[in-house]
């Protein structure tokens, strides 16, 4: 029994809390995202290697990366023709590297939001930011999956209504304003309505009543 107890104590020494893990994840994401812009081209290989580990971790935890990959491909499809038109064939590799850097800057954010709960990120942010700012950032992160779903549904509704925004139609730049007009605009209207309602909901649940709010415990079984 005594031996088991000592073992348990040893394990406890090395165990970090969910909040500390979140703080580490937040810091790591910031460093890696900054690195995507500031590292020289020669060091990008190492960054890709580290980011690949994040992808493996995120996918292992059953998170989907397909939306981010699609975004990367769309960005590539948009940037390369522009580079070709503006700088000519010689600068195409430069264009690929720019897209790669943007993708590598976004990837740690995907990993962070996929592996950490927004309220835990809010708790960590409140160490250095006013509680209100921390809540707004955490709530915005939490809102992303809902808004993504909302965007998909509005896109589908408008496609069914005959809008020229199917992937095939969007190959023609003439149809891009229609995407903004009948998808982005309604999504923004929804976002404004939702943020107003969320602000009201938070206020009714005493948000802002105390200067230093407490936090819901992440690991209750330990207590």
């Amino acid at each position: 029994m005594l031996v088991n107890g000592r073992k348990a104590n040893k394990v406890a020494v090395f165990r970090i809390s969910a909040t500390q893990y979140c703080a580490f994840a937040l810091l790591l994401s910031l460093v890696l995202s900054s690195g995507a812009f500031f590292l020289p081209n020669s060091a990008l290989g190492w960054l890709i290697l580290v980011d690949a580990l994040l992808v493996i971790h995120g996918v292992y935890l059953k998170n989907k990366i397909s939306a981010l990959l699609r975004l990367g491909v769309a960005q590539l499809a948009l940037t390369l023709p522009l580079y070709y038109l503006i700088h000519g064939e010689g600068q195409m590799l430069e264009g690929v590297i720019v897209v790669l850097r943007v993708f590598l800057a976004l990837l740690p954010g995907w990993w962070l939001s996929a592996t950490q709960k927004p309220e835990r990120i809010g708790e960590v942010l409140s160490w250095g930011l006013p509680a209100k700012w921390a809540f707004v950032i955490a709530a915005s992160i939490g809102l992303l999956p809902y808004m993504l779903q909302e965007t998909k549904e509005i896109y589908a509704i408008q496609c069914l209504r005959g809008a020229n925004i199917t992937p095939k139609a969007l190959r023609n730049p003439k149809n891009w304003p229609e995407l903004i007009y009948c998808v982005v605009l309604p999504v923004l209207i929804q976002l404004l309505k939702l943020s107003k309602q969320m602000a009201k909901a938070a206020k009714l649940r005493h948000f802002g009543s105390v200067s230093k709010p407490t936090h819901w415990p992440a690991k209750r079984e330990e207590e």
Binding site: G142, L160, G162, K200, W216
Partner: protein
């Protein structure tokens, strides 16, 4: 004991518009249940927000609040109130803001969950809960700080009959504990046993309302059999298991189901039964779904292959509105499908809504937006119309308008499949399909009984 009182409240949305609350008075005492009924746009939600102390627009009049008054508000759409991702964290949000120590939170949160009859793990992601469960979660999130006044915005429209039954039990216990309840509700009869004061908000004032006969799920309205089998089959669903990829089946369909031209079929099931997912699958927009033996107009459903032959009205249809005027909103699809633009004015005339033609769709009431979104599909004269809960949140006037549109379309040969939590006594349909206990099937027995009756 008086906990809140409104005296001579005047409220409007602009200096050029008439007041929607005009010299309104209301007194609420501890342990009382008030139910406010009224047409959409009559000011029910505005009144609720004044009671909550969260009306951002200015109003005139006096509001008395007892010093100890704590108000909880559950809005119409629980999704708009979710601030966290797990059940425990969501309920604990108010405790965090009140500075309650973390080690005291768990017990309080569990107590609140028990009060609303939601027996789920504290780590359950909010997104996996059904709409009815989310509604109760939002109630728990209010009850955790022991409010003395609980405000509910149209619970009946959001909940299935089981959810309404459970909510009745929860509210009864709260009233016994001395909590006052004010609910805004189009169907007050669903909570008739609890309501002490029934009000009708009309012309900006509260008048005593009349109690109506309860609407039950058993009431169905079946059209006399018209032997439609010779007509074109629009939807065919062969026996299958409906499941998302890598997930357990949502329901099993053991018999072949079909919908023909001119038919109206109501798909009825509880919250979370899979009604919306089936509708989206029929429209070809449901992602993450296995290959199913379903055909729509003799084709495997896919986005963009049906053109103007298929219309889908999703829940909260006001999301699709984006044009500057109602008329251009209706003309949008007509232009894209190269159909006569005159149809837009024609449908507005038929619905007696021509006066709204130049209005901004964003400034209309919920019911009006709903009708405009539906009208934008109707003017395409589709062969098949799929409607997800088209009567949710509508008052009697707008329900009658929607019924008028559907019967007219059906007479023109349009096949209509619509979903609901419960039977639709106000709309004569050809058949009911039910999703019950994980099984989708034709409610043939009900149809026969209704025809015999």
């Amino acid at each position: 004991m008086k906990i809140i009182a409104l005296e001579g409240i005047h409220f409007g949305y602009g200096s050029h518009q008439s007041e929607i609350l005009d010299d309104l008075n209301l007194v609420i005492n501890r342990g009382e249940c008030h139910c406010i009924n009224g047409a959409t746009g009559s000011g029910k939600s505005s009144l609720l927000h004044i009671l909550a102390g969260e009306q951002c627009r200015p109003y005139e009049g006096d509001v008395y609040r007892a010093p100890s008054l704590l108000v909880g508000l559950v809005m119409q759409d629980p999704n708009a109130q979710v601030l966290r991702q797990s059940v425990g964290a969501e309920i604990a949000f108010a405790l965090e803001n009140l500075g309650i120590a973390a080690d005291l939170m768990v017990e309080k949160v569990q107590q609140s969950l028990r009060r609303v009859g939601l027996y789920t793990s504290l780590d359950t992601p909010v997104e996996v809960l059904s709409l009815g469960q989310k509604y109760r979660l939002m109630m728990a999130a209010q009850l955790v700080f022991n409010p003395s006044l609980l405000l509910l915005d149209e619970p009946w429209a959001q909940l299935d009959d089981n959810g309404v039954k459970e909510l009745n039990g929860v509210l009864k216990a709260l009233l016994e504990d001395g909590v006052a309840i004010v609910m805004v509700e189009h169907n007050p009869s669903a909570f008739a046993d609890l309501v002490d004061y029934l009000w009708l908000l009309e012309g900006g004032k509260l008048r005593a309302g009349q109690r109506q006969q309860a609407q039950t799920a058993d009431l169905v309205n079946i059209r006399p059999s018209s032997k439609p089998r010779h007509r074109e089959c629009l939807v065919n669903i062969a026996p299958h298991q409906f499941r998302f990829i890598d997930q357990e089946p949502l329901f099993e369909c053991e018999q072949e189901l079909s919908l023909h031209r001119g038919e109206i079929v109501a798909l009825v099931g509880d919250n979370g039964a899979g009604k919306s997912s089936l509708l989206k699958t029929l429209a070809g927009i449901q992602a993450n779904i296995t290959n199913l033996p379903i055909t729509v107009m003799a084709k495997r459903p896919q986005l963009g292959i049906y053109g103007s032959d298929l219309g889908l009205l999703m829940q909260r249809p006001n999301r699709q509105l984006f044009e500057q005027t109602v008329l251009t909103e209706l003309q949008f699809s007509l232009k894209r499908f190269k159909l006569p633009l005159a149809r837009a004015e024609q449908i507005l005339t038929e619905l007696d809504l021509l006066k709204l033609a130049d209005s901004s769709p964003h400034k209309l009431s919920y019911g009006q937006q709903h009708i405009i979104a539906l009208a934008s599909l109707v003017c395409l004269q589709p062969k098949l119309l799929l409607l997800d809960d088209p009567f949710a949140g509508l008052d009697k006037y707008h329900v009658a308008k929607v019924v008028q549109i559907l019967l007219q379309l059906s007479a023109q040969g349009c096949g209509i499949l619509l979903t609901s939590h419960r039977g639709l006594p106000f709309l004569a349909v050809d058949r009911y399909w039910f999703i019950e206990n994980g099984h989708l099937g034709d409610g043939a027995q009900i149809t026969e009984q209704a025809n015999v009756g």
